[in-house]
Amino acid sequence: EPEVTQTPSHQVTQMGQEVILRCVPISNHLYFYWYRQILGQKVEFLVSFYNNEISEKSEIFDDQFSVERPDGSNFTLKIRSTKLEDSAMYFCASTLKVYNTGELFFGEGSRLTVL
């Protein structure tokens, strides 16, 4: 069964450092997403991406965040200067169809710890 894969599974970084989280969506999917979940809290939408541009972003997704699809398979989330409050699980997701007629497939997540 095809799946969304994410790397790294866990990254520890110092505050102020840049972090890049990588995702390989399911190959024929067209819509890509990043969500995050702070420990013990709910899953929060960050950004959606379609046709090589951002479709929508939340208020969390400020200038410190960026996304890129550098080639035909990878989808990355970059945090330019990490803060302590960026510590969370980051989930990548993809889907073939728009939401109301399709399911989102989530990866296993990348745990980011900012010290």
Binding site: V4, Y31, Y33, Y35, K42, V43, E44, F45, S48, Y50, S55, E56, S58, M89, F91, A93, T95, V98, Y99, N100, T101, E103, L104, F105, F106, G107, E108, G109, R111
Partner: protein
Amino acid sequence: LAKTTQPISMDSYEGQEVNITCSHNNIATNDYITWYQQFPSQGPRFIIQGYKTKVTNEVASLFIPADRKSSTLSLPRVSLSDTAVYYCLVGDQAGGGNKLTFGTGTQLKVEL
């Protein structure tokens, strides 16, 4: 923005049927209702999606009344491995995007 309300937690025993009800009074005409399951330290996993009446798949059933202001996820004969958080979601069409808005979910605990 369609907000959902569901119980914070539920307890059950193996072999029982579990019904989790979600309220979504402000659901829009074009919105579908989707349920996801999440185990600790894992990404959410799609369970079932419906628009009205009843939908059934190999793992669950989804009951949606005519007014669509609520929905009930039914898990037949639960096992210990069904212990997880269950999220009810309604499509957020703000800005034309496809974001999912997760609530706090229902923590289901299944015991022997």
